[in-house]
Symmetry: C2
Subunit: 219 residues, 2 copies
Amino acid sequence: MSRPARRKVSDGTATRNAILSAAVDILHREGAGALTMRSVAAAAGCSTTGVYTWFGGKNGLVEAIFVDGFNRFGDALLEDHASPPDDRHFARLGEDYRAWALANPTHYMVMFGGAVPDFVPSDEARIAAVATFDHLVDSMRRVMAEQHIAGNPVDIAHHLWAGIHGYVSLEITGMDLADDEAMRARRFRNGMALLVRGLLPSPSTVVRTSSDSVSSPIG
Amino acid sequence: MSRPARRKVSDGTATRNAILSAAVDILHREGAGALTMRSVAAAAGCSTTGVYTWFGGKNGLVEAIFVDGFNRFGDALLEDHASPPDDRHFARLGEDYRAWALANPTHYMVMFGGAVPDFVPSDEARIAAVATFDHLVDSMRRVMAEQHIAGNPVDIAHHLWAGIHGYVSLEITGMDLADDEAMRARRFRNGMALLVRGLLPSPSTVVRTSSDSVSSPIG
DNA sequence: GGGGACGACGTAACACTGTTACGTCGGTTG
DNA sequence: CAACCGACGTAACAGTGTTACGTCGTCCCC
């Protein structure tokens, strides 16, 4: 990779993209168990060794899926981060988070749940994943500054993230014992409201109920 | 199973237990990827087909691990449920929950995270798993009755469970971006306090200012 | 007591998985 | 132009879950 890459007639990365999108497609339609070197190669229209030349092995392929997932996931949440924060800012963020995760459950579980045994993302891949979280921290920092809320934005963002992930993860794995989708949506909405209310108490209430500066529940 | 089971010289279920404990041991020591029919059979001292006679296949074996995990998990939390609830009741529960999950991460991920591709627990197994959650609901119902707190205990227990699971799940999969164990423990403790305070607003503390009892800074 | 019957195995094979030598082809580069 | 080297395909390897098939020992019934 240090010297200039040699080019064939067509840009070589085209087949790489074909393999990756085929893999994502199989993962989405048939689950992690069907994500096979041979099935991916067949869907991409190449031989199994083609996958090895571009991804090094299954671990590399899954890692590419991992990074690709965080890119898509981050894009889905991007406009939430970009929009000017109002009262429903984090509620919308939570809804979009949940919507993406439920629309791409297998992808989400590869990213967060260890759906592929023995796969551990490299530090490089983890750094790419963290960017998604950084956007959340930025949003948090901005809202906290505007509302004059004290505390560590990273910690508060982590609390929010863990809370959302808890609901979504239980829901994807079917461990939530809800009767129907309406019940799940209601619970999630209420949980999000609870989280936001607890994490970001409106400044007026904070000033009124306590005198010292550390009165924000989060610090 | 309807007619009386035939017995051999030794109770046949002994080999079943040997296989199951060998499987749990392998899962605990080497992870879900090493959980192989052959490795389990070898560790249990029998042939691969022996696993099939007792568990029907890998799915059945994983399901037995799934149920066994919830039994152990429930036992670890049992004394928390049994103890008379005080201020630190749910904090202790959270700590024990987290301690068990971090001590048995692979087992926990099989139970909650879909660590084995294509494994879906049967309704029977799910019912056995729900018993663990029922204990939490009972604790919640008792505390709410004693403290005269209104609300649906099932929903509130679910909020608490989802919150705890969110932290623990991120921690196990390495997606939490903490510097060290101390930071993780602190975040979890603060998150638990936040959850409990939000879910179970103590009537006494509601009247008084936030500087009492649970007002310690979180973050 | 004998004769089935049936459950608990083991052996060996099946299709399938990830992975890897090995050869080939063709564009790039000196 | 010639050497090189990366992008492939073919075919094989060990290891995976699973399944016929046979055997042995114990139980039930006559």
